[in-house]
């Protein structure tokens, strides 16, 4: 055990944690929007929209995140018109490529979580709203969405933790996030166990915080 290395690598790893957290929060925000959008499409009766949404979630859940990042980071640069368009400003940055890949990935899982939450809402709630003469739109925003969010909290908490672990893949496209820095320190010092303990500890701490935060929300919004 090399305690000095553990102490000296801690600040570096903590700095890298900021990158991880930034990646995580951006991806979760975009992913939630995408997920909600595709969950609503899934509930749509239009077969085309429905199938499109199903296809999206099937493809992104059926392939590894690593492939998705590589396609976006290495692959999209190959398309000529993308290179010459303004989107290239975003796509040439590994940072944004990683965020796009993570958002699309977590969006697929989130859409499944939200869809099943929407489908399990007690019909009585909607009928009650109907019989009170509340419009469809207000029923959706004021009844269905809040109940769906409450119901999907446990599953979504898991998804946040999975995404936190997923951000480690950013290190494969040259980003120096927590795993990236950890790998760098391991490969320069050849002390994998010490670095693993520190970096793993930081990850576990974040998992612990997320887990308890979701639990707190679940309790707060239970009915």
């Amino acid at each position: 055990m090399d305690l000095d290395l553990m102490v000296s690598s801690f600040p570096k790893l903590l700095n890298a944690t900021l990158v991880t957290l930034k990646l995580l929060s951006f991806s979760l925000i975009f992913g939630l929007i995408l997920g909600l959008f595709f969950a609503i499409l899934r509930l749509n009766k239009n077969i085309f929209l429905n199938k499109f949404s199903y296809f999206y979630s099937y493809v992104f859940r059926g392939t590894p995140l690593l492939v998705q990042i590589f396609i976006i980071y290495f692959g999209l640069g190959q398309i000529e018109f993308l290179r010459s368009s303004f989107i290239w400003i975003i796509l040439k940055e590994p940072y944004w490529c990683a965020i796009i890949a993570f958002s699309l990935n977590t969006g697929a899982y989130t859409s499944e979580i939200l869809r099943s939450a929407f489908e399990t809402i007690n019909k009585g709630f909607i009928e009650a709203g109907d019989s009170l003469g509340i419009s469809k739109k207000i029923i959706f925003y004021k009844i269905q969405i809040p109940i769906a969010i409450r119901q999907s909290l446990p599953a979504y908490g898991n998804e946040i933790i999975l995404m936190l672990k997923g951000t480690s893949l950013a290190s494969t496209v040259t980003l120096m996030d927590l795993t990236g820095v950890a790998k760098y320190i391991i490969s320069t010092t050849f002390k994998p166990i010490e670095v693993f303990i520190v970096a793993g500890g930081i990850y576990l701490f974040m998992t612990f915080i997320i887990h308890n935060f979701i639990r707190y929300l679940e309790k707060k919004y239970s009915y």
Binding site: Y58, V59, G62, T63, P64, L65, L66, V67, Q68, F70, I71, F74, G75, L76, G77, Q78, I79, I161, L164, K165, G166, T167, S168, L169, S171, T172, T179, A182, K183, I186, S187, F190, P192, I193, F196, A199, G200, Y203, L204, T207, F208
Partner: protein
């Protein structure tokens, strides 16, 4: 399509063998995972506080730490650990561990944590009456476990194990960082030498989709088999 030609002019056969490698690693990892689950599920269910703590730390740590970090730990630390153990027995030469073994072991540890949770959940949801009934009937413990618990547990566990299989299959893409030539690594090599990353990574995505799709079909059959009588 020229890119996928067989032989030396294309990457078709290389990608085919890479796919076989992915399947081989996934299956090996799954089996190693079952071995871990076999050890840690009883620990998690044990009433002894220390054993319980051991079981819980395994699943919490592995499920809370990124897969890539676990792979790096084994990749950089694996041969060191084996050499340390070997030096105790008086063998001091350099030992290099095969990438296949390191990779499947790393993925196996991860998949084992998920399998442990699945088995624990399945065993805990079996009715207590079953245990009492077998006690009254005077069944011996191994028979009770094999003939009463196992069949019921498998029915409950198989759907969740299919999720674990999917996760394991997708996690194998990560061991491409250790240099093992599976789908991801082969696509990386092909993309590098042909300068056509879009095609090869998309093709890799299709291969993974195909694998997940086919394994789902197979697992559904298994599920039906274990659901008989319900």
């Amino acid at each position: 399509m020229d890119l996928l030609a067989l032989g030396n002019n294309g990457w078709g056969d290389e990608l085919f063998f890479a796919t076989l490698m992915t399947i081989a690693v996934s299956i090996t990892a799954m089996i190693i995972g079952f071995c871990f689950a076999l050890i840690f599920t009883p620990l998690k269910l044990s009433k002894n506080k220390f054993l319980n703590f051991l079981g819980n730390s395994y699943t919490t740590i592995i499920r809370g730490v990124p897969e890539l970090l676990v792979i790096y730990l084994l990749f950089f630390g694996g041969s060191g650990a084996v050499m340390y153990v070997a030096s105790i027995f008086g063998y001091n030469k350099y030992i290099e561990i095969n990438a296949f073994i390191t990779g499947s072991f790393a993925i196996g540890i991860i998949s084992g944590a998920y399998s442990t949770e699945v088995f624990r959940g399945a065993i805990q949801s079996i009715d207590k009456g079953q245990f009492e009934a077998s006690k009254v009937l005077g069944l011996k413990k191994p028979i009770y476990f094999l003939k009463v618990i196992m069949p019921q547990m498998l029915r409950l566990a198989v759907p969740n194990l299919s999720n674990v299989w999917q996760i394991t299959l997708k996690d194998t893409s990560l061991i491409s960082v250790t240099g093992l030539v599976e789908i991801m690594r082969q696509s990386y090599i092909a993309a590098g030498s042909t300068r056509d990353p879009l095609f090869f990574y998309s093709f890799a995505a299709v291969l993974y989709l195909l694998l997940t799709f086919l394994s789902m079909k197979l697992i559904n059959r298994l599920e039906n088999k274990y659901r008989r009588g319900y």
